[in-house]
Amino acid sequence: MSRKPLVREVPPTSWYFRQPRYMRYMSREITSIFVGAYCVLLVVGLQRLADGPTAWEGFLLALQSPASIVFQILALVAAVYHAATWFNATQKAMPLQIGEDFVPGNLISGAHYAAWAVLSFVVLYLAGVF
């Protein structure tokens, strides 16, 4: 019997609208744009710092513009969402077996959240927030 299989192509640019889980995945991936853009902002800041006090003051002033504040809020939300998806993934990537049993996944992810909170506190402390 001859075969004539039908290939149903995946639409290359719209497949992620098919399922909410694909949309969630794409939203996670898109956060990297904001995280990357904020990294560029930090590099520019370093450059301004190296250029001297006047350049640095100008950079700080630019950060306070409404557009800059909106961008920073978006970048913060994106970075927090990205970090949460990352910490939630740790329990899948690094399962921990003790004897015959596996440590509950929530404990593994929870430990990462706790470490995140402690490190954030240390960074804020060093930055003189408290």
Partner: protein, 289 residues
């Protein structure tokens, strides 16, 4: 090509008289008319697939497979689909049900409202109606060597290869795969890049890599640690969400990414370093020479 079983084959443990009749329990359940929209494709006459609507009187507790059996028994005997066990064990009846990869024997009608759209598993060529061609998956399954390659070969007279319960638990979850291919239908990476080895095959590679009796990781790494292997995975995670056997392929693939990365670090960044896989493959080469 294997199509669905003959009409006369009833579901497991059902009385004779056809699948549809077998599940109707007099006085015990209510009837419901279900609209099924089924993708049809006849390779002998069609150049494209089309949807066909069936109106089926079903029992409330039926699954989609029962409704299809009723269609085939009473309405349209030309409908083709695969099934066998009717108890979510054999992995034959995977289909897209309202766009979601499901075992049709595990998709209860009571969980659906309105028209139920039934299509063949996504990302696989359609042979006929709901029957897909699994050739690509079977080929990839072979490539990952999903069997124990003994760490130490010993004669039968020395007895069995022993394993503790803890060693068993290390891989047990990944041995539950029923090869239903739902994870491939859910994985957009496989749909977009068909050369991707894919979730189930890679998970089986992980299952054997994790087995204390196995020494074949180096051989499997040639397939696993490649662009077509774990590095094509972008951790969408859909494979684990749709797996009817709760195997969690996404977990297996992320673990393999870590071990493959460690292999690379040991091999390239540590002077004189040999990755675990590398050393095994060299020993194998020595054995053969």
């Amino acid at each position: 090509m294997s199509n669905s079983p003959p009409r006369s084959q009833p579901p497991l443990a059902a009385p004779p008289g056809g699948a549809a009749a077998s599940l109707g329990r007099p006085g015990g359940s209510s009837e419901r008319t279900v609209q099924l929209e089924v993708l049809r494709y006849n390779p002998d006459t069609d150049t494209e697939a089309h949807f066909q609507r069936y109106e089926v009187v079903c029992q409330e507790e039926w699954v989609v497979l029962d409704a299809l059996n009723k269609v085939k028994a009473d309405i349209d005997p030309t409908l083709n689909y695969r099934w066998s066990c009717h108890m979510a064990v054999c992995g034959s009846c995977g289909m897209m049900i309202n766009g979601e990869p499901k075992l049709s024997c595990h998709a209860f009608l009571r969980d659906y409202e309105g028209v139920i759209r039934v299509e063949p598993l996504a990302h696989f060529p359609v042979e006929r109606d709901l029957v897909t061609a699994p050739d690509d998956f079977m080929e990839k399954l072979k490539r990952v060597k999903p069997y124990i390659i003994p760490k130490e070969k010993k004669p039968i007279s020395e007895g069995e290869y022993k394993q503790t319960p803890a060693q068993l638990m290390k891989f047990r979850q990944y041995s539950m795969c029923i090869n239903c291919m739902l994870c491939y239908a859910a994985c957009p990476q496989y749909g977009l890049t068909p050369s991707f080895i894919g979730p189930a095959a890679l998970t089986l590679a992980h299952r054997y890599n994790q087995d204390s009796r196995d020494g074949g990781r180096a051989e499997r790494q040639e397939v696993v640690a490649t662009h077509e292997g774990v590095w094509e995975c972008t951790f969408v995670g859909a494979c684990s969400e749709v797996c009817p056997a709760h195997v969690d392929p996404a977990s297996a693939l992320q673990q393999m990414k870590i071990t493959s990365s460690l292999d690379w670090i040991v091999e390239h960044l540590i002077p004189g370093g040999k990755s675990a896989g590398d050393s095994v493959s060299r020993e194998d080469a020595g054995d053969k020479s």
